[in-house]
Symmetry: C2
Subunit: 453 residues, 2 copies
């Protein structure tokens, strides 16, 4: 018998299985539940225990990790099924909700537990990031929030599952309110970058293909440039070799998170123009049967049917100039993506330094987020009236003009640029809001982004 | 021999052939040119004369009508081909450019004629609207601009080709500059409505289909409601009976005009967020091989592959409530469409009463344009600070909330709403720009639209 506390684990999918197995390896007694029988069988094979219902899994064990895929599933296993977990959790149990859910859901969950007489449960809102490999290694990124007491009780478990450098006890900006929902908000704001930048990679490479560029070459150029993003570099090999049909992250995964962002935006009356357009493209690709495919495969939305568009003639003939258009397109999208993520983070009261640190070290990272993002945060804190988009990075006018060149050429080639056109309209609105105000035209992107959002 | 003046006619396509044939019927000698030989053969069959080159068509005839499809074609027939028309036009000839082109193109054309020593030519910028039937009947809508002298010389021809109530000598707002380009700008602003509302019809009916509604019934409900638009009513029969494969207006046609809008927007640094997203959807459908199909067939972008989206569950079960969601979606899109068209019209200096009169009587018409459009124009003229979105129409808050219900449900059904989501983000930005300013939250849409554009 292990002297370590017993843990129940609900949801043994790609992520959950690895996380639960890692806990077994660390010497914990882990009792798992999953609706899919073979997962339980497999879990027993690696030393775990299996339970037939959520209630059976959690009974008498002081800690429960819930790693189901959606808030609907969380609601089902906790309250709605025939043997739900919430009632069966022992007195004073810790409940770690690791699923990516809207902050509003996990806040409502705290209320619901109280209403159902389970205010004794220590709820921790702690979505994770990092993929199945890091889940199994116990080196995930984790964004945790909850009461001080709940965090104190859960800390050892969070530490077992995470990389020490990537365990974030999510902080509010300034003297803001700490508590449940902050972890989910942090994950959400990171996913703003993911949602935009996953599609951006396909859009940029699709545009490159339509211009007749060698995708391997342009991919290398992008990675060396200010248009670099973690997502671009990560998706590139699968985009270059679609014949491998390698699936690292399915379209449905990023779609789910994108919908959380836009839904939370609607709830808070906060605009998410970049993510919204990405979401519609993801929905459209889902309808086409691409949901289970790797998200890098969405390049086909841009490359398909070039033979159907009729005779087109671009104006840019120089290969280097074409590569630059791809880079200009991505830089502008990444800038708008950074502004959207940071502005949303500020709106939900996140500590922007922590958001920045987390994103720069994670899959949402981009060169533009790192450089322009820092300026955006500085200006946001200084208040809307602040100038200060530094001349040594890039001016709003320049980035808009650069993007316009890419959009012009794509229009000549009749190539859709969903994100590129959205970014251009947003940057144009931002420029106009400055010109019509008292600011100089070269005002900061964030000043203007604030003016329009 | 006719005593009426001789006319050359370049471009004998669906529209041009009818227009030229009508002139023949009215007793004019018409010498036509088209790159497609059979058109010339057919034109001879209805009493016209044929020419082998543009130069041959225009030689010694005092009036020339150019009705080619694009500015590229206009440039080709006027200047670039082996026997271009511009050099061959007789001294002091009238040149009516009826093609839909960017205002910047026809303004540049005036300059180019001067530079090439043909400042003697009386150029008229006079795009048309109304379809092939009205072209053949000589009852088109025509939006004409040019010098007073050119308009005086061309008036008889414009009258032959148009419905007397629909011949617009395009006026500037207030004491603005009159001249070449105003006609094209008027056409462009009308086409903002067309571009948005053609796609909106497919989006709304596709959403209705995903909710399981009877499309015939919901179509009738929409037509009776404030969500009515000319485009919706016109496209509905073809949408309900796609098996007829009836082609009234191909996707490529509205795509061409949409690209003129967005390109002109980029040139003027003016945002066109609704048309831009419509354009990307049109490009995507072009790539899929739908370019030559009737634009009403784009409903399939929304209805296809419902079997691929997995298990979804809407929250709205009442049939009447579902129909209302469709109506709410369309109303909000039409409101944003009206704001985009009017705001762009104001930006390019059009007389807004004339724009309003023209759009209400044409294919861009909608119930929202008629009602809210009038308020938007009144408020625009009163200046940005004005309130006055009247309580008896609809408040910005209500229309946003209504649209949000539709977007929420579509998200649950995983149904893309490209325009609906764009409209919601714009309305949300508009609401926020008011709340952050000194205005009351129920400020007018146009006040806010101005703030963000």
């Amino acid at each position: 018998m292990s002297s370590k506390p017993g843990i129940s684990f609900i949801g043994l999918g790609a992520m959950g299985f690895g996380m639960a197995t890692n806990l077994v390896k660390q010497g914990y007694t882990v009792r798992g539940f999953d609706v899919w029988g073979p997962a339980l069988y497999k879990f027993r094979g690696v030393g775990g225990q299996g339970a037939a219902t959520p209630a059976e899994a959690v009974r008498n064990l002081p800690h429960c990790v819930c790693m189901v895929a959606t808030m609907q599933q969380a609601q089902e296993v906790l309250f709605q099924g025939p043997s739900p977990a919430a009632k069966a959790l022992p007195q004073g149990a810790t409940l770690l909700l690791c699923s990516t859910v809207p902050a509003a859901y996990v806040q409502g969950l705290e209320e619901q537990l109280k209403k159902e007489g389970r205010g004794d449960i220590f709820l921790v809102d702690c979505p994770v990031s990092g993929g199945a490999g890091r889940a199994a290694d116990g080196t995930l990124s984790i964004m945790a929030s909850g009461s001080e007491a709940a965090l104190a009780k859960a800390r050892f478990l969070l530490q077992e599952m995470s990389d020490p450098a990537k365990l974030y006890m999510v902080k509010p900006e300034g003297s803001g309110q700490r508590g449940i929902g902050m972890g989910s908000n942090m994950k959400m704001c990171h996913q703003v970058l993911a949602a935009n930048q996953i599609l951006a990679a396909s859009e940029a490479m699709g545009f490159a293909a339509r211009m007749g560029l060698d995708l391997t070459k342009v991919g290398q150029e992008v990675i060396k440039s200010d248009a670099w993003s973690w997502m671009f570099e990560n998706r590139l090999p699968r985009m270059l070799h679609p014949e491998n049909k390698s699936i690292a992250s399915a379209v449905t995964i990023i779609l789910k998170d994108t919908s959380i962002i836009t839904a939370q935006g609607r709830l808070l009356k906060f605009p998410t123009p970049m993510c919204s357009v990405a979401e519609q493209v993801y929905f459209a690709s889902l309808s086409r049967g691409y949901g289970a495919d790797d998200d890098s495969s969405l390049i086909r939305l841009y490359t398909e049917g070039a033979e159907n568009v009729g005779k087109v003639q671009g104006e840019v003939t120089d290969e280097g100039a074409k590569v630059q258009l791809v880079i200009k397109l991505l830089k502008a999208i990444h800038l708008c993506s950074a502004a959207e993520a940071i502005r949303f983070g500020a709106h939900v009261g996140l500590d922007l330094d922590q958001l920045s640190e987390l994103c720069n070290a994670a899959a949402g990272g981009s060169k533009l987020f790192e450089t322009a993002g820092a300026v955006i945060i500085r200006n946001l804190r200084a208040g809307n009236g602040s100038r200060g988009w530094p001349a040594d990075t890039v001016s709003l006018g320049d980035v808009t003009q650069d993007l316009q060149e890419a959009v012009d050429e794509a229009q000549r080639l009749k190539c859709p640029l969903f994100l590129g056109n959205q970014a251009l309209n947003l940057l144009t609105m931002a420029s106009r809001s400055v010109q019509s105000g008292s600011e100089a035209a070269e005002g900061s992107v964030v000043t203007n982004w604030c003016a329009i959002t």
